[in-house]
């Protein structure tokens, strides 16, 4: 049973929440823009998968879950980590490979972890995070705790066998999992229609016996609204839900990607639906915020990023002598 993408009904959420959604998206956007700069000057290395354009999903979805709920992310995880509330200083330090990073400098951009916040990592294996997400949810079932597990993945992962195994198992065992599919239309360089015979992913997921529906992933309020419904259903014992967030990344797959497979016109079409401009426009029209307010948010975000960079620059590198730590538990 699927529904067509629905925008949020204006006024459904209170102004404070709406400004917070905007601020979170701006924060993610600015953070990543600065990461591109830092990458070009070799402060950040490795892969850098940018979330720019998809901010509505992280901001909207993760604003609707509790601190005790679990999140399993992908290699495009900066936005998820920021929206989850991991301090930017810890994230930036991780990008810099410092020992103060959220993964101690061991993970980098693709492997942001914060066990305290139940953020179980960016996973660089497409669909690799789905099975553990089921296990996290199973643990909650076994302990009779009412938490849910949000598992983020993309349209590429939907093609992997692991997704289908997990969709079946989660539905079979009625696990409290929110399958959050960020369908940004491309599995790296392969367009959705070139990868899937049937491109309505929500429709296909419904076939596994769980509630599924598509969402406008360029509308933070629509995302939040859908997430709220799904979380409610899951907590109420309705078993797993599948949300297909139809979204778009404005930039290439990663900084290594020449981005020759997308039509410039297509990119521009999606950019016209920029989730930040969209929400800002709505809030300005509703006189909830003005340009000055927007600039203040921007200034505060820039200050936060500057501070995070300064802190990361100054942070210690883990000594090479510790190379083999964190392979096995350190026994006393």
């Amino acid at each position: 049973m699927t529904e067509s993408p629905a925008g949020a009904v204006p006024g459904r959420t209170d102004p404070g929440r709406r400004i917070e959604l905007l601020r979170q998206m701006m924060r993610i956007r600015r953070f990543e823009e600065r990461c591109i700069q830092l990458y070009s000057t070799e402060k950040i290395r490795g892969f850098l998968h940018l979330y720019i354009g998809e901010e509505a999903v992280a901001a909207g979805l993760l604003s609707e879950i509790d601190a005790q709920d679990a999140v399993v992310s992908t290699y495009r995880d900066h936005g998820h980590a920021l929206a989850r509330g991991i301090p930017m200083t810890a994230l930036m330090a991780e990008m810099f490979g410092r020992s103060t990073g959220c993964s101690g400098g061991r993970g980098g951009s693709m492997h942001l972890f914060d066990a305290q916040r139940r953020f179980y990592g960016g996973n660089a294996i497409v669909a690799g995070g789905l099975p553990p997400a089921l296990g996290l949810a199973l643990a909650d079932v076994l302990t009779d705790t009412p938490h849910i597990t949000v598992c983020l993945f993309g349209d590429g992962a939907f093609a992997e066998g692991e997704f289908h195994e997990c969709a079946n198992l989660a539905a079979l065992w009625h696990l409290p999992v929110l399958f959050a599919c960020e369908n940004n239309q491309y599995a790296m360089g392969t367009a959705l229609r070139r990868e899937h015979a049937a491109t309505d992913l929500a429709l296909r997921a419904a076939g596994y016996g769980m509630a599924s529906w598509p969402v406008d992933g360029m509308d933070a309020e629509a995302v939040a609204e859908a997430a709220r419904r799904a979380v409610q259903s899951i907590r109420g014992g309705g078993g797993p839900c599948f949300l297909e967030f139809r979204t778009y990344r404005f930039r290439a797959h990663s900084l290594y990607d020449a981005d020759r497979y997308r039509d410039k016109a297509e990119i521009e079409q999606w950019k016209a639906r920029d989730p930040i401009e969209r929400l800002y426009g709505q809030l300005r029209n509703a006189e909830i915020i003005d340009d000055r307010g927007y600039a203040e948010i921007e200034t505060a975000i820039d200050a936060e990023i500057d501070a995070a960079i300064v802190e990361a620059e100054a942070a210690p590198l883990e000594p090479v002598a510790d190379l083999t730590r964190h392979v096995y538990a350190e026994r006393q």
Binding site: I125, P131, A133, G135, L138, L169, V327
Partner: protein, 323 residues
């Protein structure tokens, strides 16, 4: 007391389920069917479907689910029916179980136990006769065990469950019906060390799992010819207890490794390398490996027998190094 290897495994499972409510068992056919090899027969009745969980045929999903549940503080025992099917979960085992602790900078424990049947000898042909211990022993972040005796079948599970890191336990299919001395619930296996299964002075024979019995049979034959072979049961394939091997070789000056896996790039090779590194000045003869022939396991009995390490081959190898 004497019992079967299968019963020892069952006893160990029951004990773990009784002792620690966080423990649960999941895998294909572990519940209603009673386990592909009958190891979990009766458990579903006694512990219920929450703790004895039949899974769909989806190794990646349920092994990964075990990983997630372990991260969340449970103590899952995941049974993979046979080693060959474990390849469908190799991604989860390598890219999550073995690496999550590291990638997270030490934030996550993965106290997962994976059990799987292994080995050949029953004419199950090429896809059902693998010994893939070396695949897993290759991976930093895992502990890999091989239960060669009834005592270890009984005694390895509990310490494995206490380990904050993922543990893979291999159970040789050929041993399920074997009998032996089982230790009581209060005796656990030291899963950090190899065991000298038979002391001797003339040559060190290192084996594990199903080949332990091959090596012991060879040692008996050798004893009749006056050659006193020491047989070591590795028990733990990762981390490798190099110290026990080196100590033995420093007395015998000779090493023969027996491995049901293929010889190339295998555990026998790893033992040989470790010995060459740490006991070069104690070796007085070339190291010999007795491994499975470099061929997929054939169906025909005589070919299968010829492919696998035999006591006779071990005898010949030992005689070569002591001559």
């Amino acid at each position: 007391m004497t019992t079967t290897y299968r019963q020892a495994l069952t006893d160990a499972l029951r004990e773990a389920l009784d002792r620690d409510e966080r423990v649960f068992l999941m895998g294909e056919d572990v519940g209603a069917y009673g386990g592909c090899f009958g190891v979990s027969r009766g458990l579903l009745d006694d512990y219920g479907p929450r703790r004895i969980r039949d899974t769909p045929l989806s190794e990646s999903a349920f092994v990964g689910a075990g990983i997630g549940a372990a991260i969340a503080g449970r103590r899952p025992i995941v049974e993979i029916m046979t080693g060959n099917f474990s390849l469908l979960a190799l991604d989860q085992i390598l890219n999550n179980a073995a690496t999550l602790r590291h990638m997270s900078g030490g934030q996550l424990d993965v106290p997962l136990v994976i059990r799987m049947a292994t080995g050949a000898g029953r004419q199950l042909a090429a896809q059902h006769s693998h010994s893939l211990e070396s695949f897993y022993a290759h991976l930093p972040g895992l502990r890999v065990l091989s239960a060669a005796t009834v005592a270890d079948a009984r005694g390895m599970l509990w310490p494995a469950l206490q380990d904050p890191d993922p543990v893979v336990i291999f159970e040789p299919i050929a041993l399920y019906n074997s009998s032996g001395e089982s230790r009581g619930p209060d005796t656990v296996t030291d899963i950090d060390t190899a065991e000298v299964a038979r002391p001797g002075n003339d040559a060190t024979v290192v084996a594990y799992g199903g080949t332990l019995h091959t090596a012991l049979a060879a040692a008996e034959q050798l004893a009749e010819t006056g050659v006193d072979a020491e047989v070591i049961d590795l028990r733990t394939l990762r981390p490798l207890d190099t110290a026990t091997i080196v100590e033995s070789v420093s007395r015998t000056h000779r090493l023969v490794t027996v491995d049901e896996g293929w010889g190339r790039v295998g555990i026998a090779a790893e033992i040989a390398a470790a010995t060459a590194e740490h006991a070069y000045y104690d070796l007085d003869a070339p190291i010999r490996r007795v491994c499975t022939a470099e061929v997929p396991i054939p169906y025909a009995r005589q070919l299968e027998e010829a492919a696998l390490p035999s006591a006779g081959a071990v005898v010949v190898a030992v005689q070569e190094v002591v001559s």
